[in-house]
């Protein structure tokens, strides 16, 4: 008489908000998309009603709730001439990040593979351990969206613990991981279970959104092709447009590179980690003045190759790009990373073709 795990639950808007509010009441730090002035951004909320689950994506990803823009890695003070070092204070609350688009949830999974494989980063890990992600499937795609080209879908479950699918004015809620099940354990008995018809409707929605996306998939052979394209002149043309503002890295759900600086004085302070970007000139400049990547051409090439060649070659072909499209939307120079990748792949194919003909 093993209890069948329900395929999901069929929630009203009110039930959903009550669940969120209960999480807050239980002491969970609730984070979700909030409309603030003309931006939609992730914020910790004290009222479930302030969360916006309407169509569209947030201005930037929720990665700062796992990898803060700036965080102390340890603190130091000098007492009687002797340094005392202290680890950061323990985290006191669990957090639930809700309303995360599937591309952003996949971005968190990319951060996991940077910070939790190889040398594990305990600062990232402790936040990740206490975080549950409830994603939100997409009912439409904007022209910059290309999750389907980057290995995802508008209903993708990678990186999420539970997923919310808006259907006909109600919510189909599915639990994906034990963490997700834990988050809804208290309320789920009061909710009606979803049916096979809901699954069919969800599937139709996914297909409809996917069909509205025009960009063709990044193919498995592209990383190796790109890696061989390092010396091609096409980078010159692509990199010359980059202005080194690095907005692409800051809004990217999977960009993980960071800087470390002492913040303080000789008596007290901390070693701080902050987001950084490979498109900044100082990123790689040696103290001697030598810079292995002296211009935007080399820096932009690094950005593309790290995401579409080096990372996937090392990690089972998964890209360090989830196709959220924010960098395309926000680049002041109008650079489209997907088109850049295609252009380099094309150039490399022409190169190979030319050398075979000669």
């Amino acid at each position: 008489m093993s209890a069948q795990t329900p395929r999901g639950w069929w929630l009203t808007e009110r039930e959903l908000r009550e669940w969120f509010q209960q999480l807050i009441a239980d002491g969970t730090k609730l984070v979700g998309p909030v409309d603030e002035d003309d931006l939609r951004i992730f914020r910790q909320v004290t009222s479930a009603d302030s969360i916006s689950l309407a169509a569209g994506k947030t201005q930037w990803s929720p990665k700062e709730f796992l990898l803060p823009r700036s965080e102390p890695l340890y603190a130091y003070t000098f007492e009687d001439g002797a340094p005392r070092l202290r680890d950061p204070e323990p985290l006191l609350a669990d957090q639930a990040i809700v309303g995360v688009r599937p591309c952003d949830a996949a971005g968190l999974a990319r951060l996991d593979s940077v910070f939790l494989s190889g040398t594990r980063d305990p600062h990232y890990q402790r936040r990740r351990d206490r975080t549950t992600v409830v994603s939100l499937s997409c009912v439409d795609a904007t022209p910059d969206c290309f999750c389907t080209a980057a290995g995802g879908t508008p209903h993708g479950e990678e990186g999420a613990d539970a997923i919310l699918i808006p259907l006909a004015g109600r919510w189909l809620l599915r639990s994906i991981t034990p963490k997700g099940a834990g988050l809804l354990a208290r309320q789920r008995h009061a909710w009606p279970e979803s049916t096979a018809e809901h699954d069919v409707a969800a599937e139709n929605q996914r297909r409809r959104v996917e069909e509205s996306m025009r960009r063709s998939p990044v193919m498995p052979e592209w990383p190796a092709l790109l890696d061989r394209a390092f010396d091609l002149p096409v980078w010159q043309h692509l990199g010359e447009r980059c202005m080194s503002c690095s907005i692409c890295s800051y809004v990217c759900p999977s960009c993980s590179c960071f800087d470390m600086q002492d913040e303080g004085n000789p008596w007290c302070g901390s070693l701080c980690r902050s987001w950084d970007s490979c498109t900044f000139g100082l990123f790689t400049r040696h103290a001697s003045g030598h810079n292995p990547r002296p211009t935007q051409v080399e820096r932009y090439r690094q950005r593309v190759l790290h995401k579409f060649a080096y990372f996937p070659m090392e990690r089972d072909g998964r890209l360090m790009c989830v196709g959220c499209g924010r960098c395309i939307l926000l680049c002041p120079a109008g650079i489209d990373i997907y088109e850049a990748v295609r252009a380099v792949v094309e150039a490399q194919r022409n190169e190979v073709g030319a050398s075979e003909r000669s």
Binding site: L73, Y74, F78, F115, T119, P122, C257, F258, R285
Partner: protein, 284 residues
Amino acid sequence: MDNPYRPDLMRIVGVRDETPDVRTLELDFLDREAAREFSTAWGPGQFGHFTVWGAGECVFTIANAPPLRPAGGDVRIECTFRAIGKVTNALRGLASGEIIGFRGPYGNTFPVADWKGRDLMFIGGGIGMAALRSPIQYVLDRRAEFGQIVILNGARTASDLVYREEMWEWQKKDGVRVVRTVDPGGETPEWDGEVGLLPHVFERLALGPDGRAVVVCGPPVMLHFMFLSLEKLGYSPQQVVTTLENKMKCGIGLCGRCNIGPFFVCRDGPVVTWAQMQTMPKDM
């Protein structure tokens, strides 16, 4: 928390000026357990991150070799650095007895096991000698295990030559030849070494590639011309190793700035063969 970014505390126990702007520090761990843990992982060629609180961290090669016979729990490390930026100038401002931070050892080691029974040549340009001092000490401590040893130490001027006192000690050992050189124009009236750029002096020595392992460390432009000279004299890319240098922050493969293609200098280097270097993209 097992915090990889929190350094161990080390006391400066010795300060030696190599040149007007290059200094060597001797450092002792304050904590014996930290010293023990460090020494179980330490090999020649590795590097560490050194902290001056309030200024920041910087990366240096560990410039001495693990002792042949460790004495109790005491581990002393040395670093040689040029005062060139914010942190290195702050470090230069510290005196013997003061405490700094250290985390490491990081990276791989020189292939010392492969060198057994072979003749060795160490070629260092400027502060590149700092990376060679650890393997030099290592092989001199085990002199009988290796063949003839040639050490070629070059600098821009006579006053920029590092380890000038120690070179006499190295030279005294059986089968060790030390050649000192300065760039043309860098000599003084008293200079009694060679005059010439390292690649030229190397070629003049006319030492062939048979049975010899070569280690060459120095600035990128020197490496470029050294490789041309090594090629000219018939050396194969497999018998030459060097160390890569890149801007680093974390030292543990996470911060994302020291890579050359998929190769992370902190994680996969810093020691590489010339052959490996030839397969890398020109991103250095």
